[in-house]
Subunit: 277 residues, 2 copies
């Protein structure tokens, strides 16, 4: 057994999605597309002799159900310490990143000799089961600008990506509960997500992704007033912005938010998926 | 149309493989596993008005059939300029890297709006058709330490990976012709490749990959004397080395070759697949 291991998992902003439930959480998931980000989560796992695992995010002990599930699945009694510049609950896939980072690092520390696909499957299943996300984990394992053509873990899904990279700005006004939205009526959302995906498959470019994302946010009825205003202001300054699914968060390409007079956080698309450090 | 675009494609050392021919070159390919490398190829594509494309590697004009095929498929009359620290023909997947880098960069320059999978399919098919490689392109698009479970381009293949990273040393004594080996009797090679893959699927770790690779090189009858001696010297110094498929090249984890008294080139596994710069 090693002393500890650390993984970096990129943040993931979903631009649009459709939900695809399944009795088996490793087959359930979402179709959609998003941006993985150079801003992400660094997850360190070290063995503990305590009877219960400890999970810490930015110094505060928190309960993250998918992380606990991953540790149980890997039979890994551990202390998990995560650090991130991204806000929690605002549409950046923090819970997915913590689950995936825990899987990668715990596999190394406890020498579980699982493959990447197996670890991603475990983290994805744990996230779906907890209701905290449907597509972040597989996107974060992939990196770049993933397009999720078929739902589920790596054994079942089908991924493509947009061959591009971009500077990304973001601004978060607050949280939206993924679990609340996903437990509500998702028919309208699924229809809007299907339309958006068709558009991006037909033309896999950043511009069409942003267009499809804005249309999705409107059609799915998820825009809040503040988010809609900010997106309009970015458009007025000739920029491209949309809403992160699911958070009260606006993201923009290039200098979109800065040009509209905001002081956003700045990062970029992340070329790689999650990695051990 | 843009002025130019540049892509970086990691080098790829195949540790073992089995050949899987198919009438459709996008479905043909190989199973196997390898290391993608931080040493790779930077490929710049710029439009040309000349009637024939130009392909330059490290300042010398050369003929690379898969690159020419990619340019024709994308209807992209271009000058392709590649730079690499890796030796050509020595088992680092240079031709695959040039084909894939050309596809990514030409798609951007000529605004062909293809997806990553489509570009990888084109580059993979061009490489297989030319007989210069069977699995490098899909591995180089993936990054990390890819395990190719099913052959072919992204529409058909199945990839997993070993969740690890490593410092990599290498030393090249010279070229081996991929086309010669692949056009010969590949039954013994295929059997050895199948055994090696089973081993790595069962235990997807770096150590088992190195062990399976050494066994493959011996069983497939591809070891040259110089390579066999060097691998033995690394083993005598408690290191892990094997032979790059296909080149007269020895690669080692960590400081394997240095510890055995050699002065190797040094790089590391590359966390990401091919990327536009």
């Amino acid at each position: 057994m090693r002393d500890e291991a650390t993984a970096f998992v990129p943040g993931h902003i979903t631009g649009f999605f459709s939900a695809h439930p399944h009795d088996d959480p490793t087959k359930a998931g979402s179709r959609g597309a998003g941006l993985t980000l150079t801003d992400g989560v660094e997850v360190t796992v070290e063995p503990t002799t305590a009877s219960e695992p400890t999970v810490v995010l930015d110094g505060d002990e928190i309960e993250v159900e998918p992380v606990r599930t991953v540790l149980e699945t890997l039979d890994a009694p551990a202390r998990v310490e995560a650090e991130s510049d991204l806000p929690l609950g605002a549409g950046f896939g923090i819970s997915g990143a913590m689950a995936l980072g825990t899987a990668l690092a715990a596999n190394r520390v406890f020498e579980r000799t699982l493959s990447t696909n197996e670890l991603v499957t475990i983290a994805h299943g744990a996230e779906v089961q907890a209701g905290t996300g449907l597509g972040d984990v597989v996107a974060q394992a992939h990196g770049g600008i993933p397009v999720r053509l078929e739902p589920g873990g790596p054994q079942d899904n089908k991924l493509d990506s947009i061959p591009a990279r971009a500077r990304v700005e973001y601004l978060s006004f607050g949280e939206l509960s993924t679990a609340d939205v996903l437990s509500g009526d998702t028919d309208r959302l699924t229809e809007a997500g299907r339309n958006a995906l068709s558009r991006v498959v037909e033309e896999p470019t950043l511009l069409s992704f942003m267009y499809a994302s804005r249309l999705f946010a409107r059609e799915a009825g998820l825009l809040t007033d503040r988010v809609a205003e900010t997106i309009a202001e970015v458009a007025a300054a000739d920029g491209q912005a949309s809403m992160a699914m699911l958070g009260e968060t606006v993201f923009a390409l290039g200098t979109g938010l800065s040009d509209a007079g905001y002081e956003p956080s700045v990062c970029a698309t992340h070329p790689a998926g999650a990695v051990l450090k």
